[in-house]
């Protein structure tokens, strides 16, 4: 609880600073977040490599975990269909195209803007950012109520980069390899699935 509140307050402070432009604009175009991400991944890798237990635990992983990306994709679609049927002001294929971004907001919003116009593209951008933020903020709760794999599925396509450190902190270093494998497969599926639902 305390951890999520601290994370939320850092995120909110960033939002305010961005909206009111309290920092020089150059910082926003400097790729600073990419360098921080690289440093973060190095540190996470370091802590995994430094722990003699972690390599040992990779071997004990259940092979059924290979199905996790499929569960993420199908589960997302079912959730999206339920929302789409309840809201009803947009076609199901449009909703599914947005959902098939799986948190990969840059690519999915660009593709959807190309295929379906700027309004659905903006929804895809916002919706997939929200998925990433939901995962970052609520990973501890998701873990507590839905088990070790749930934060990985919630992270969708982002589990090998932006949400990876949070997942390793919550699900544990033994699941780092699952998180990367999952992120890789789901990430790879985004352009195909978004294109598929946009052309239906």
């Amino acid at each position: 609880m305390k951890g999520s509140l601290i994370i939320l307050s850092f995120f909110a402070t960033g939002l305010l600073v961005g909206v009111f432009r309290w920092l020089p604009a150059e910082l926003q175009y400097s790729n600073a977040s990419f360098y921080v991400l690289c440093l973060l991944m190095f540190s996470v890798g370091f802590s995994i490599g430094n722990d003699p237990q972690s390599f040992h635990q990779f071997k004990t992983l259940n092979l059924r975990l290979a199905f996790l990306p499929l569960m993420t994709i199908v589960g997302t679609w079912i959730g999206i269909i339920v929302v789409g049927l309840l809201v009803r002001n947009r076609s199901l294929t449009d909703c599914l195209a947005v959902g098939s971004g799986f948190g990969y907001y840059s690519l999915s919003s660009i593709l959807i803007t190309q295929y379906k116009g700027v309004e659905l593209g903006t929804i895809a951008l916002l919706s997939n950012i929200m998925r990433e933020v939901i995962t970052l903020l609520f990973a501890p709760f998701i873990l507590k109520y839905f088990g070790t794999l749930a934060p990985i599925s919630a992270g969708g396509a982002t589990t090998m980069d932006t949400t990876f450190p949070v997942i390793v902190r919550n699900s544990g270093p033994d699941y780092a390899i699952v998180s990367i494998y999952h992120g890789f497969i789901v990430d790879f599926s985004v352009p195909f699935l978004v294109t598929l639902f946009c052309s239906l």
């Binding site: 009111f20 600073a32 996470v44 259940n62 309004e119 929200m130 088990g147």
Partner: protein, 92 residues
């Protein structure tokens, strides 16, 4: 870009493995600090993006419903797989 990120982690793993005789205690605190910094920068990027801020009121609610539905659906699917794995694990 994705591969640069993965390469960073592999380099970190190699570094950590080479130094495994020494326990590096502060790594976890350092990671937490970087997560905070990254979230701050994500907020900064979104807050400074005029398109995101101006469209938020109009399309934000619909986007939130879709984000919520998709995330919850995948969480439940993962939960299903997790209980399945636990059952099989216990019977081994």
């Amino acid at each position: 870009m994705m591969f640069v990120v993965i390469a960073c982690m592999l380099a970190g793993m190699a570094g950590g493995y080479l130094l495994r005789s020494r326990k590096i205690q502060f790594a976890h605190r350092f990671i937490l600090g970087l997560i905070w910094l990254l979230l701050f920068l994500l907020g900064l990027e979104l807050g400074a993006n005029k398109m995101v801020v101006s469209q938020f009121g109009v399309l934000g609610f619909e986007a939130l419903l879709l984000a919520f539905g998709g995330t919850l659906g995948s969480i439940l699917a993962a939960w299903l797989l997790w209980t399945f794995c636990l059952k099989k694990g216990a019977s081994k």
